[in-house]
Amino acid sequence: MNNIDLTKVRPYGDTLDDGMMQFSFTLPVPCGPQAMEAAKVLLLGQGFENPAVTAMEDMKGTTYFVAYARCPKAVNFSEIYVPTVDFPVFEMEEVNELIAKELGRKVTVIGGCTGSDAHTVGIDAIMNMKGFHGHYGLERYSGIRAINLGAQVPNETMVARAIQEGADAILVSQVVTQKNAHVNNLTNLIEILEAEGLRQKVIAVIGGPRISHEFATELGFDAGFGPHSYAEDVASFVVQELIRRKKN
């Protein structure tokens, strides 16, 4: 789009800068004109302009609304900074060569879904031979020894096995985020790693549909991988990080 002032971007409905946003929500009030007004008042209270409630549906005790309104605030896009895992991503063969050349030994990674999380499809996509969407998993990497502990692994077990196997990296998948389950579980893992004096030795990586690199580093992990990550992403990161650490 042309002529856009990136220091002040607003939602764009049909006219640049019109600020138009769509909302939907439920209010625990009976359906009727008063409810409609309450929905508008709510949006006005949050600082929106010209709220229009386009649908009001009687949910028998509560009321559902669809609304549109103008957002007056703008974002300075040119100042937005997002911490990202910043490293080149290599293909499987390149990763294997890099390992052979720079490390001269197999890299061991251990992974699983920890805590009460039983969603293994994500970690399997990263680790299993077959991989995901045509991207082979870590088990297929000749330079990597990949150990997948599966579902609902207690943090203690994960750390114990990491020590036992001499793992270079721990890969944790967290899918359930309801009531901040993942935050509690991941914080606990970091504490255990620190208590064991392992935090600096082992590379700790997390992944999942609602994980970002920023979130991961805030919790004390080395990297975080969100949706659409593949084995080569995490393999490239782990191997380069190992090389970096070796050099230091």
Binding site: M1, N2, Y12, G13, D14, T15, L16, M20, Q22, S24, A52, V53, T54, A55, E57, V66, Y68
Partner: protein
């Protein structure tokens, strides 16, 4: 999927449509309109606006009308000045307005005819060459898979429309329509230049056409896909907009006198006359027309009045054939408009869509999404559009207008178009061969509904044929709207052609018809 319908009813309907059109056409051929004359002037090279912003074609035609000279045809008078002063058409236009005609010694018609026929042949061949180039482009770049995804832009500002249209093309649109500003169809002139202020749409002007065409050609080249451009020719300026469309490489035009009559209260005789000339041009320049029967179901009930859509399509087909159009250029309109609360409504929609498909196998059908029964619950709207996309894929529609999330709220947001494409892409892929794989049960609800609609359409055509088209319209047979033939907007712009009326374009475009036309004159005397 194939409906077991009675071919004799289709044949009968076509015959009736021909009989309905015949008296109308012979009337039409006796008359011309201000807009046809302005279109002729435009074709001959008159363009631009005067200091007050009034288009020169209007200035000339208004002058001729006021001075009782129009019945001989604007080309005749323009020719007089051009030949007399050996000047350009544009200059001749201003000369006429300045009153030069009174100072000129009138040349004999034969001489004017010679000049006009040559000029017209030149202009037509030039525009046909453009058309050829565009056809080549379409073939080289290729068109998207059918149904073709048709999206509208309607910001009111051509410079905002363009990036939105380009983004839509990048997202997968095959066809872009720039909606006109509310009310333009009732203007008896075409605004000029690029425009930035429209209400619910953008002015249709030659320059706006040009700018959008250029942008779409660029993005089409980048994408390796030809993007078609559409605008609206229904309304008071149908012939002129057709000329501008041809000049600026548009691929399709909304073009339907019945729409204007019913929904814009345009005078019947005016717009049918305009339409004929306009369709002669479309036929010649390979512009696909889109008809507006889908609109009927926004005022009338889709179940009770479904057959009126089909009946009107037969009539529209006839009018198009009479203007020399091939079925390949007839984007006959219909719509998915049955109340979502109706039991088995989807079956009715399938029946109707497939019926139209079978009756007009070669026409690039224009299929409209649900609009009337969309409300402000945008999720519900998305579900309705999902089924619309399904039926379109199943019944092999061609020109597929994408359903918009906020149909009941405002003209589309950028994101409405995106979500519309997402939905259509999903359905067109996941249900690609569904139509081929399913058969309709004989004697079942779908088959019966199709039969019912077809035979009701045939009966309606019988009645219309008996009563005459004008009377049927006056009686509210179409879209439940009544329009009298001596009322409506623009009626003062129709006039009877004089015996020695001259219009080199219709002469050349009518071809065979010209002879009949002259025979009619002879008979009248």
């Amino acid at each position: 999927m194939h409906l077991p319908i009675d071919p004799s009813l289709i044949e009968r309907s076509r015959l009736l449509a021909e009989r309905i059109a015949r008296p109308v056409l012979s009337q039409i051929k006796l008359q011309s309109t201000v807009s046809i004359e302005r279109a002729v002037l435009r074709l001959l090279g008159v363009d631009g606006v005067d200091r007050d912003g009034i288009p020169w074609p209007n200035r000339v035609v208004d002058y001729l009308l006021e001075n009782g000279m129009l019945e001989r045809g604007a080309a005749y008078w323009l020719g007089q000045v051009v030949l007399d002063q050996n000047c350009s058409a544009q200059l001749a236009a201003s000369e006429i307005v300045r009153g030069s005609l009174s100072r000129i010694k009138e040349k004999p018609l034969a001489e004017i005819r010679e000049w006009g026929d040559v000029r017209a042949a030149e202009r037509l061949s030039f525009l046909r060459q453009n058309r050829e180039k565009r056809s080549e482009k379409r073939e080289t770049l290729g068109l998207g898979q059918k149904p073709w995804k048709y999206l509208i832009v309607a910001t009111g500002n051509i410079y905002e429309d363009i990036p939105q249209a380009v983004a839509a093309a990048r997202q997968g649109a095959d066809i872009i329509a720039v909606i006109r500003t509310t009310g333009q169809s009732l203007l008896d002139y075409v605004p000029y230049g690029p425009t930035t202020e429209g209400m619910g749409g953008t002015y249709a002007t030659g320059e706006n056409f040009h700018l959008m065409r250029q942008a779409l050609d660029e993005v089409g080249a980048e994408l390796g896909r030809y993007i078609r451009l559409v605008n609206y020719a229904s309304g008071l300026c149908m012939p002129e907009i057709t000329v501008l469309a041809a000049q600026n490489g548009l691929d399709m035009l909304l073009n339907d006198a019945l729409y204007g009559i019913l929904f814009r209260d345009i005078n019947i005789r005016r717009t049918l006359t305009d339409q004929h000339f306009s369709r002669l041009l479309c036929a010649s320049f390979g512009i696909t027309i889109n008809t507006g029967e889908d609109n009927y179901l926004t005022t009338a009930d889709a179940v009770e009045e479904g057959h009126t859509v089909l009946a009107s399509q037969f009539i529209n087909e006839r009018f198009a054939l009479e203007a020399g159009m091939k079925p390949e250029l007839m984007g006959l309109g219909h719509a998915f408009e049955i109340d979502p609360n109706r039991e088995d409504g989807l079956l009715d929609e399938i029946a109707m869509a497939q019926l139209v498909r079978q009756v007009f196998p070669d026409a690039p059908l224009k299929y409209m999404p649900p609009t009337k029964h969309i409300n402000g619950n945008v999720f519900r709207a998305y579900a309705q559009n999902t089924l619309f996309n399904l039926v379109s894929a199943m019944t092999h529609q061609d020109i597929h207008l994408l359903g918009m999330l906020t149909e009941a709220i405002h003209t589309p947001f950028l994101s409405d178009r995106y979500l519309g494409l997402l939905n259509a892409d999903y359905l067109f892929k996941t249900a690609r061969h569904l139509g081929e794989e399913l058969e309709v049960k004989e004697g079942g609800r779908i088959a019966l509904r199709a039969e019912e609609v077809l035979s009701a359409a045939t009966s309606m055509l019988e009645e219309v044929e008996q009563a005459g088209l004008f009377e049927a319209i006056a009686a509210g047979r179409f879209a439940a709207i009544c329009r009298k033939s001596d009322e409506g907007k623009g009626k003062d712009g129709v006039f009877l052609k004089s015996e020695n009326y001259f219009n080199p374009f219709s002469d050349q475009l009518e071809g065979r018809e010209k002879v009949i036309n002259q025979a009619t004159f002879a008979a009248k005397k």
